[in-house]
């Protein structure tokens, strides 16, 4: 099959899944009514649905579904980008510590008892500062730039994890500690449109930069010096890719907590489908990341009577799926 058609099919699938997810849930809304409710927002239709349906679809399901797609898309794109610039198929978006930074920020915000809306802001800022710190530390180690960044990432990451543990220790065990723990588990329940709005700008920038640089990422994968001799300013390109991936990861983690495996599993699935060429791999990873997280989040909100943290489910689904991908014969990687 042509690579372009695989991407088109994945986007089509995402759109269908989007509509189906709006209809899917404990409170039943027929698919036809979902479409009518959505169309009604653009051109008013005669109301054939109950008001409760409109509330469920527009106020509860829609923001959460949009955010699931955005976060899945971002984590997957960031993972694919990191694998390219670090020439390492095992890289994932939390490689440099963006996630640990965000977790520390969120825990700090909860312990400091800041307004609930500010938790995401704290997480985002801390995540970003972590990557700045990692780049600054990485520059001062001697030897290969790439290995240094990864080492600095491991170091800073573990420092922030320890700091988060300390905050948990110091937190009030009845209110703050459970809040931190649930936040860290990752989940999309209770998503409102303002969460979507908060994450939208950094994510749009991140997606755009990664899509535009996708050919350069191809050239970077052959190695630092070879890429330089082909006319690439490798330091600058890598800095841009890391910055864009950090925007995506920081925005994702700050609105949804720790959601693992998406950034590792989905790019690998896409490599099997279209090969390693980022001209196709990047857009396909984005679409499939959205599909994957939306599917898993549908499970998370409907599997059992209470809400299931989606971060746990992505690991339950992602880890065996990754094993299946890696042990299967054939493929391009």
């Amino acid at each position: 099959m042509k690579k372009r058609s695989i991407i088109l099919i994945s986007i089509l699938l995402l759109c269908l899944l989007f509509l189906a997810s709006l209809a899917f849930g404990r409170f039943n809304v027929p698919l036809g009514e979902v479409v009518r409710i959505l169309v009604d927002r653009i051109t008013p239709l005669e109301q054939t649905w109950a008001d409760t349906m409109e509330t469920a679809v527009l106020n509860i399901r829609l923001p959460r579904i949009i955010l699931a797609i955005m976060v899945g898309c971002s984590l997957s794109a960031a993972g694919a980008a990191y694998q390219g610039v670090f020439q390492n198929p095992m890289a994932s978006p939390d490689l440099l510590g963006a996630s640990s930074g965000a977790c520390f920020g969120a825990a700090l915000a909860i312990v400091l008892d800041v307004p609930r809306g500010m938790v995401a802001v704290f997480a985002f800022v801390c995540s970003f500062l972590t990557i700045m710190l990692v780049s600054a530390v990485g520059k001062h180690i001697r030897g290969s730039r790439i290995v240094n960044l990864i080492l600095a990432g491991m170091m800073v990451s573990s420092l922030f994890s320890a700091a988060t543990s300390y905050l948990k220790l110091a937190a009030d065990p009845y209110e703050e500690l459970p809040a931190i723990t649930y936040w860290l588990m990752g989940g999309l329940s209770g998503t409102a449109m303002k969460d979507v709005g908060f994450a939208l700008i950094p994510m749009l920038i991140g997606w755009l930069v990664l899509l535009l640089l996708r050919w350069r990422i191809n050239v970077l994968t052959v190695g630092e010096e070879e890429a330089m001799t082909m006319g690439l300013n490798t330091h600058r390109i890598r800095a841009f890719v890391i910055l864009a991936s950090t925007l995506l990861t920081a925005a994702s983690v700050s609105v949804s907590g720790m959601i693992g495996w998406v950034g590792l599993v989905i790019p690998h699935l896409c490599r099997k489908l279209v090969g390693n060429d980022y001209r196709y791999l990047m857009p396909l990873s984005m679409a499939c990341g959205g599909i994957f997280l939306l599917l898993v989040d549908n499970l998370a909100r409907n599997l059992i009577a209470t809400e299931f943290p989606v971060g746990i489910l992505t690991a339950f689904v992602g880890a065996p799926f990754f094993l299946f991908l890696m042990t299967r014969k054939g493929g391009n990687t």
Binding site: E226, M228, G231, R279, N332
Partner: protein
């Protein structure tokens, strides 16, 4: 076109590898760089490619210092053909060659029809169209090296630099690659290769630069430069030369009893 290396020196910390090296490569010349392991052949190449900054001296192309050129401008003048190595991510042969055209693109651009046509024309010229859709990682060593040459040709630079092109290849492929490089030189490319086999320099190159462990260097026509005394200085080897088919053939002398070569664990 001329690439001029003037009095360059380079050290890794306190370990000096290049000292006062000068030479000039003109259009259509085929240069071989010989010398023992660790003498600085790769370092010299990395300086020429702008990957390392020599402590002293200058490297200019048509009078312009390469340090004043951006990566993109330098890539228009010099292309590097690396040794084959296992890639982390495999690409098709066509896409690998297409990477060579990156210097035509601005940072946010993807290759367009003109670049794809450039890659295709190089593949046609090297008679590699039949493997164009194969995965680079799945090719034989000889084919992989051809792909990397194709990638450098797609870059459209007039100087080709190749570090030990033959070290990972079998005998037939070594000859094929070197003969191809010589043909490219005859077509107007300036080619610089390093090699561990002085016979390759005799067979293929016009000019030879020899780097000796004592930091001295000699250069000139291959037949003139490569002699008994140089082989002793470079490799601590006794050699004889014979003439066959109008070529100067190097015959290494291995006799232990004559003490020509020191062999550990020998008598």
């Amino acid at each position: 076109m001329s690439l001029s290396v003037q009095n360059i020196s380079f050290s890794y910390g306190s370990n000096q590898v290049l000292q006062d090296i000068s030479f000039e490569i003109n259009k259509g010349e085929f240069w071989a760089v010989i010398g023992p392991n660790g003498v600085g052949k790769s370092t010299l190449f990395r300086c020429i490619l702008g990957l390392l900054q020599p402590a002293k001296g200058s490297i200019t192309i048509d009078g312009r210092d390469i340090n004043t050129m951006s990566r993109k401008v330098l890539a228009q003048r010099i292309a590097y053909i690396p040794q084959i190595h296992r890639p982390v991510f495999g690409y098709t042969v066509r896409d690998t060659v297409l990477m060579g055209t990156t210097r035509y693109l601005s940072a946010f651009e993807q290759p367009k029809a003109a670049q794809v046509e450039k890659a295709n024309s190089v593949l046609r010229m090297l008679e590699m169209e039949d493997i164009a859709e194969k995965n680079y990682a799945a090719l034989s060593g000889g084919q992989q090296q051809m792909v990397l040459i194709a990638r450098a040709l797609a870059q459209d630079a007039e100087i080709l630099v190749m570090d030990e092109p033959t070290s990972a290849l079998d005998y037939g492929n070594q000859m094929k690659i070197l003969a191809l490089l010589r043909t490219l030189a005859q077509r107007g490319y300036s080619v610089v290769v390093s090699t561990h086999n002085p016979q390759h320099a005799l067979d293929f190159s016009e000019k030879t630069l020899a780097l000796a462990p004592d930091k001295s260097s000699v250069q000139g026509r291959a037949e003139a430069v490569i002699d008994k005394e140089l082989m002793k200085r470079l490799y601590n080897m006794e050699v004889e030369f014979v003439s066959a088919g109008g070529r100067k053939i190097l015959v290494p002398q291995y006799r232990e009893d004559g003490g020509y070569v020191h062999i550990p664990m020998g008598k």
